[in-house]
Amino acid sequence: MALTGLEIFKLLPKSNCKKCGKPTCLAFAMALAQKKAKLEECPEASEEAKSALAEASAPPISLVKFGTGDNEVHIGQETVMFRHEEKFYNPTVIAVSISDKLADDALKERIDAVNSLQFERVGTHLQVGAVAVINDSGSPDTFASAAGTVKKASPLAMILVSESPDALGAATAKVADVRPLLASAASDTAEAVAKIGKENNCPVVAQADSVEGLAELTGKIKAAGVEEIVLSLKARSLKDELYGLSRIRAAALKKTFRPLGYPTVSFVLDGNGEAQAAKGISLICKYSSIVVVESVERHAILPMLTAVMNIFTDPQKPVQVEAKVYRVGEPGSDSPILMTTNFSLTYYTVESDAEASRVPCYILVVDTEGTSVLTAYSGDKLNEKIVAEAMKKNEVDGLVRHHKLIIPGYVAVMSGKLEEETGWEIAVGPRESSMLPKYLQEVA
């Protein structure tokens, strides 16, 4: 928890020497508390004061990184319980398991399948963020060799999953340069695993079957010199895990309880693709920083990645699509052209209904600062001048021969002025987008 000005003042030399540029130590302390000054500006501060301040200003949930280069992943640093309060910070990483029981071609095939879990939807590229190599074989050598193969064949960040410190040690020796996440240290293996983590500069997963057990365990791992820790609650059921994750998040954020101030990882390795996606999505929403699944079925992975995208969008910023002309199907110079706003929800609704009509058409998206039709109109972000401007900029004159623009039913009132402004014929479309298919089939 951030310190108050007075608490900071108590840590300062109280000499009022003014070297910091402030008239008194108290003034400097106040400035620090308001983040208007930095501690380095006081040359007289003691080491003790520095570490106390650093500790106090650390984020309530720390940052953990693993992997390297373009595929380095960042987790943690969350600041709120609910996404409407502030943007959820580091999107949940979806990881897929690879068993070290697979060998040769089967292993290669599995790695390829995981690598190919990349998708394009609504103009965005989505992909899984990590592979989790699992020590099903029980053998350190087999585990190390599988990890080596994965490192060569996949650019993705790696999680090494084994209960055995020997196996983790053997695999880490092969892949330390890609900074894998070591999973996991339990209470009886904490020292051994933390040692591997410290020597190889790799983050470590703490795994326990209770929230209390986790709080205890992170202390041990930290004492052994590992700062980057990830929590894994090995609960009896998904239910216990979700309630536990909520408790962990609340303790870290509301009580600044440092022993639980770390990102989290969950494993969903059983059940069919649909069940894994269902559980995965609940864990994405309710506070898992990494969700490891076993399924490589595309229809199961895409909704999880989409859920991450949705839940981690900035709630303060309306999501916008680019203001331009979109094509539905393969429209020609006789196809209808519709106008709507650049609020993504509005646009996708219109696009989906236009598509359902099976009538090829153009959609002219006008920049209304991400507001819906009615909001934009009442806020004067949608008027005849703005539409005319957008038509000119997008050279719609050249797209169609008919010079007839379909506008949303909700802004029927602007049709007269718009006709004057543009010289185009203005047709008033339906109010509800769901009526578009019928409307388009009739006008086409």
Partner: protein
């Protein structure tokens, strides 16, 4: 190691509401369903505060839908023309605990059917199944005002959930729902303030707050689910803080919205996975997302999606 106790100063909870009336309470339903009751945020505190298990209402349309993707209509292909047989199939084969009878066919542009049709469909479905009913209009104010009061009357005493009423059109349906002893759905366009306003308007007409369920236009996964999600979370927090005008259970229209998504219905998008599995998955995924934000009743369509979500609910509640 001791972990600090998280104590919230919640003073309120989500209303508990019963749907359906058995013969003892003046209806003919074989079963009733209780929804709502949460006294904490989802997964907050202990599971004793989680309230009632969320429930799935399966959609039955009054008239054969002509815009359903093939993978969605396939499981219902033998019953699409008979709402009674359709409802029975949902209960007998897919375990429906509630049937949502959706009157699309009365919409002026989707069949423009009249009151006689709507009333007889209501009677047939009440006859065919013993579970509680949701009676949901077509969204056209004029037709809804003309026909839904008659539907309400036909189901008088059954303690149905009827809707929807909006800020601009609430009077006639609110009055008749009150007279016929039904529960009411208030609707708002993804706007928490309007949502509250409609509740106030209904309450001003003497409608009991504890018989209201709120509906905010649902966004599908990938198409605005996050808006519905945050409104639900804010509504839950308002309910917990003791705001009586926001303490209603929440209903979501999952099936209809999810199946409009390209990911659910396009047949030629192999990159998104198998076409026969994508739709049910998208519907289930949308439902799961909304459950995390406190949905109480989910309107759903595809049997496979329903079974995925049921399994999840049974594990968590």
């Amino acid at each position: 190691m001791a972990v600090p106790e998280i104590t919230e100063s919640y003073t309120g909870s989500v209303n508990r509401l019963t749907l359906g009336a058995t013969s003892q309470s003046g209806g003919t339903r074989a079963t009733t369903v209780v929804v709502g009751g949460a006294a904490n945020v989802v997964y907050g505190g202990s599971d004793t505060q989680a309230g009632e298990r969320p429930v799935i209402a399966i959609d039955v349309l009054d008239s054969r839908p002509n815009d359903w993707p093939e993978y969605l209509s396939e499981p219902y292909k033998d019953v699409l023309d008979s709402p009674a047989a359709w409802a029975k199939k949902c209960v007998d084969e897919f375990g429906a605990e509630i049937i949502c009878l959706k009157f699309d066919g009365i919409h002026p542009e989707k069949g423009d059917k009249g009151a006689d049709h709507a009333v007889s469909v209501t009677r047939e479905v009440l006859e065919a199944v013993g579970v509680p009913l949701i009676l949901w209009g077509c969204g056209n104010d004029e037709k809804d005002n003309q026909i839904m009061p008659k539907v309400s009357e036909a189901a008088k005493g059954e303690n149905c959930l009827i809707g929807t009423v909006t800020e601009g059109n609430y009077k006639s349906l609110t009055a008749i729902a009150l007279a016929d002893g039904h529960n009411l759905i208030t609707e708002a366009p993804l706007d928490i303030n309007i949502g509250k306003q409609v509740n106030i308007l209904a309450a001003d007409m003497g409608f009991p707050l504890e018989k209201i369920v709120t509906f905010q236009d649902t966004g599908a996964l990938g198409y605005g689910v996050e808006y519905s999600y945050s409104i639900q979370e804010r509504q839950r927090l308002a309910a917990l803080s003791g705001d009586k005008m926001m303490a209603m259970p929440v209903i979501c229209d999952v099936g209809h919205e999810a199946w409009r998504a390209k990911e659910a219905k396009s047949e030629d998008a192999p990159d998104w996975g198998r076409a026969d599995k994508r739709g049910p998955m998208w519907e289930a995924a949308t439902a799961i997302c909304l459950l995390q934000a406190g949905a109480d009743i989910l309107r759903m369509r595809h049997p496979k999606a329903i079974s995925t979500v049921k399994d999840f609910i049974n594990e968590l509640w």
